[in-house]
């Protein structure tokens, strides 16, 4: 299925680890963005540092249309080695241009009547121009620019900005190499992408989330490295000279417990990991729930179970993060649907955590954490800070009641250092003061009642948040449609793309998507879904969102598109699988 509702070109650079595939992809994205186009990049990689087969896919699109996925079939392939041809041939679209180095790579396997073969002597040019073989990537980028239709002047300005610190020679060599690549393409541009000369932001979901957290005053991040969450810690570490604190801990157990200690002390604290690390954090999560500490936890999913496919994506941890920990306590689970939304959620999570004094879990995945896209703008005026109920003195004489019974379930919290509001935050069940009712008192009538009341106090916060916030419902895209794809988190944008494609096929399709997943406003969710023709779309095996919907509303979505091969879904991929299901409805 070809996307025909918009113009975009998908470029895939394929080679081995260490070939500079990723930096070339990033450069190409930058060139497109500087040229006033939209860009979307995703890398396919493995857990080895050298060798293997890696690729970086850049999709470049019209300035006035948001790109919603990294694209399905390849319009321009840059094969840096023979594997680049062998592994990617099946992904080529009709008429695709294949850029390769004839001195290194054989293309006999490709049907030259179907593809546009573009031999470019990358290595020869690189060595001749600069003496540096790695410059062959620059040559290839030059060729790609010509094919896509990016103005060469853009290259000069981007490279000058990037390398001017390294000296003129480097800049000149880059320009010469790219120009020869550009000129090696003997035909005119194959694509016409609209550009508007506007400068867009270009970032990945983890970076957007980290900056969002920073914007809301989060200055404490603790983590243990784990793909695909690591780039959040890289961001915090890199900005330590601008007022954010990062601690790499000995393990994820320490990461979450440190964050709990910090949050209880009054900073906006966050910890982050992937599913494996989250498994270690589970006891700490319940600890935060019991202490009523405002804690933000990021869980960026990768393909499981166990170590799974460490560099591949999945949405397999939804039910896990919703139910992780013994016992019951309020928590908020939210899964950003786009890079842009990751920024706002990264910030709002702290308001919610502090307003309701409970853990907020931001459920990311490798796709949204790591893919890079252009964003038109961020509205930082939309960011507000609400620190919830904070006691700065003891309103009563006597001991401070940190866990005061209140109607909305929220008790004023105090921070160490404040005179008069001293209390001990306990992981055991406790009374209003925080004094334990566990060891010596449990089972005595009066304390049985304390347990009941304290449990009810904590759990009441769920009703309060459902009453006060408008966020615990899905969004609807193209409301007047006949069919709806139902999905959450990072699959939302590809699903929207799929909906467009399906609508183009005569099936008017919209999308109902969830970012906030726990708690849910059951009645509103039911009303939105009831009586509609629905297809559940998720990147996991057991349709976890459909299970959540069933649990909350009793509605069972029987038709499902489920992917669990580790690869990121695209609009075309979803549409292809949804189409036969849509036809079943019409029968």
């Amino acid at each position: 299925m070809q996307a025909n509702f918009m113009t975009s070109v998908t470029v895939r650079i394929a080679g081995a680890n260490g070939d500079g595939v990723e930096s070339s992809g990033a450069l190409l994205m930058k060139l497109a963005a500087k040229n006033g186009m939209q860009a979307f990049g995703y890398r396919g990689y493995q857990s080895i540092i050298r060798g293997g087969h890696v690729w970086f896919q850049v999709r470049i699109g019209d300035s006035d249309e948001r790109l919603r996925s990294h694209g399905n079939s390849i319009d321009v392939l840059i094969a840096l080695n023979q594997d680049g041809i062998a592994n990617q041939a099946s992904h080529l679209s009709e008429n695709a241009a294949v850029v390769y180095d004839p001195d290194k790579v054989k293309v006999d396997s490709l049907d030259s009547s179907k593809y546009r073969l573009v031999p470019v002597q990358m290595l020869e040019i690189a060595v001749r121009v600069s003496g540096d073989p790695i410059m062959r990537n620059t040559v290839a980028i030059g060729s790609a620019m010509k094919i896509i239709g990016i103005d060469f002047k853009i290259f000069e300005s981007v490279i000058t900005a990037m390398f001017s610190r390294k000296g003129n020679k480097i800049v000149e060599n880059n320009i010469k190499a790219a120009k020869e690549g550009f000129d090696s393409v003997k035909f005119e541009k194959m694509h016409s992408i609209k550009s508007d000369g506007r400068q867009r932001y270009m970032l990945d979901g983890n970076t957007a989330l980290a900056i969002g957290a920073y914007a809301s005053g989060c200055n404490f991040y603790s983590a243990y490295p784990m793909t695909p969450a690591s780039s959040i810690l890289h961001w915090f570490a890199a900005h330590a000279d601008r007022g954010v604190f990062f601690k790499q801990t000995e393990d994820e157990i320490a990461a979450i417990n440190m964050a709990v200690g910090a949050a209880n002390t009054g900073v906006r604290a966050m910890c982050g990991t992937s599913g494996g690390g989250f498994s270690l954090m589970v006891e700490g999560l319940g600890f935060a729930g019991m202490l009523e500490v405002p804690l933000v936890v990021v869980e960026s999913q990768r393909t499981g179970p166990s170590t799974g496919l460490p560099t591949k994506t999945e949405q397999g941890d939804l039910l896990f993060v919703m139910h992780a920990s013994q016992g019951e306590f309020p928590r908020i689970v939210v899964s950003p649907r786009s890079v842009e939304e990751a920024f706002y959620i990264g910030s709002e999570a702290f308001n919610l955590a502090e307003r309701y004094q409970c853990p907020v879990i931001i459920l990311m995945d490798l796709y949204i954490s790591e893919h890079v896209e252009t964003v038109d703008g961020f509205d930082i005026d939309a960011i507000s800070i609400d620190r919830g109920k904070v006691a700065t003195s003891n309103p009563e004489s006597g001991k401070f009641k940190r866990y005061l019974y209140t109607e909305d379930g929220i008790s004023p919290r105090s921070h160490p250092g404040t005179p008069g509001t001293e209390f001990v935050a306990p992981s055991d069940e406790h009374d209003e003061y925080g004094d334990l009712v566990s060891d010596a008192l449990s089972g005595i009538d009066r304390y049985v009642e304390v347990r009941r009341k304290m449990m009810r106090k904590r759990m009441t916060k769920i009703d309060t948040m459902l009453k006060n916030e408008k966020i615990f419902v899905p969004s609807i895209y193209k409301e007047d449609s006949d069919f709806f794809l139902v999905t959450f988190g990072s699959t939302t944008e590809p699903a929207m793309e799929a909906a467009e494609l399906l609508s183009g096929k005569g099936f008017k399709t919209g999308v109902i998507s969830f970012s906030y997943l726990m708690p849910l406003d059951k009645d509103k969710v039911r009303k939105m879904l009831e009586g509609r023709k629905l297809i559940d779309v998720e990147v996991n095996y057991t349709a976890q969102l459909a299970q959540v919907i069933m649990m909350n509303t009793g509605i069972e979505i029987e038709k499902r598109v489920l992917e669990y091969d580790g690869e990121a879904v695209t609009g075309e991929g979803i549409a292809e699988k949804a189409l036969p299901l849509l036809k079943e409805f019409s029968r």
Binding site: F220, V244, G261, G266
Partner: protein
């Protein structure tokens, strides 16, 4: 004397401890109280953090701030408190199972970070709260419910472990001598860096081997024996003297003390003051972060 009594009460919460009569942890409570009183620590600036165990019931007995955390997670929680606000006096209080068993990994890393914490371990060579199982410090041959035929594992040497991990103040006390113990705790609180105070704190209910009576004739004080706490080699030697002498000679006192900048002094962000007191970013600063991605 009257004045001292009322000052001490400043630190008491009025919560009755759960400990059995005669439990060593009462002595540790008394010693911590004395140390806080002598040093005039501001009650609202002190945070006592524990794990889980009989010994970890300590924070509730004080009217300071505190966190009664998870089994074995005392040190990361206490680190989080200190890193968020290093103006606070943060004291960890836990058991041997908590600190040398389930949480031993954190001990090594907190020590090498040299975060300015005081960590008091009530070492009763057993798991009190769970009714007497073997512990990482149980001496070989010691019989418990989980080792009815006697322990066959070598006990850890917490002091040697802490010294080798980079702790900058390493001491051991005895809850049968609270005056001596209070001095060690005072030194630990005043020390800038990670301080471990291991305390023999007998469990009168579940450990009938390592009793007050067993300790008394074996224990001797380092400060009365020419030990130089700045001497790393000597410190190691003293740290393992107990097991080397088959528990005939057990030194207590200050084993090791050295000056190394604390984590808070070295960290590029914390150097500018406690995190909790640092300003929220301005709109301009947020914009600048975003502009890096244009």
């Amino acid at each position: 004397m009257v004045i001292e009594a009322t000052t001490k009460q400043v630190y008491a919460s009025g919560v009755k401890p759960i400990w059995c009569p005669g439990c060593g942890d009462y002595g540790v409570f008394a010693a911590i109280t004395k140390a806080l009183t002598d040093l005039k620590v501001d009650k609202s600036n002190a945070v006592i953090v524990s794990g889980i165990g009989c010994s970890s019931a300590m924070p509730q007995t004080f009217g300071t701030y505190g966190i009664h955390s998870l089994h074995g997670r005392l040190l990361p929680v206490a680190s989080g408190v200190k890193l968020a606000n290093h103006d606070l006096t943060v004291i960890g209080t836990g058991g041997d199972g908590d600190g040398y068993g389930i949480g031993v990994g954190h001990l090594i890393h907190t020590a090498r970070r040299n975060i300015d914490l005081t960590y008091i371990v009530m070492d009763n060579e057993t798991y009190g709260l769970t009714t007497g199982q073997t512990s990482p410090t149980a001496i070989m041959g010691h019989k418990t419910k989980s080792t009815p035929f006697g322990a066959i594992e070598m006990p850890v040497s917490p002091l040697a472990l802490a010294i080798s991990a980079g702790a900058t103040y390493v001491a051991r006390g005895f809850s049968g001598d609270t005056v001596h113990l209070a001095e060690l705790i005072k030194g630990a609180i005043q020390h800038k860096g990670f301080a471990l105070v291991d305390v023999f704190s007998p469990c009168v209910t579940f450990n009938h081997d390592n009793t007050y009576e067993w300790f008394r004739p074996r224990i001797y004080k380092l400060d009365q024996s020419n030990h130089d706490p700045s001497n790393l080699g000597a410190a190691f030697e003293k740290a393992v003297e107990d097991s080397q002498t088959k528990w005939e000679k057990i030194p207590i006192g200050l084993f090791y003390k050295t000056d190394r900048p604390s984590y808070e002094e070295l960290d590029i962000t914390l150097k500018n003051g406690p995190l909790v007191k640092q300003a929220m970013p301005t709109k301009e600063q947020i914009m600048r972060m975003l502009e890096e991605h244009k």
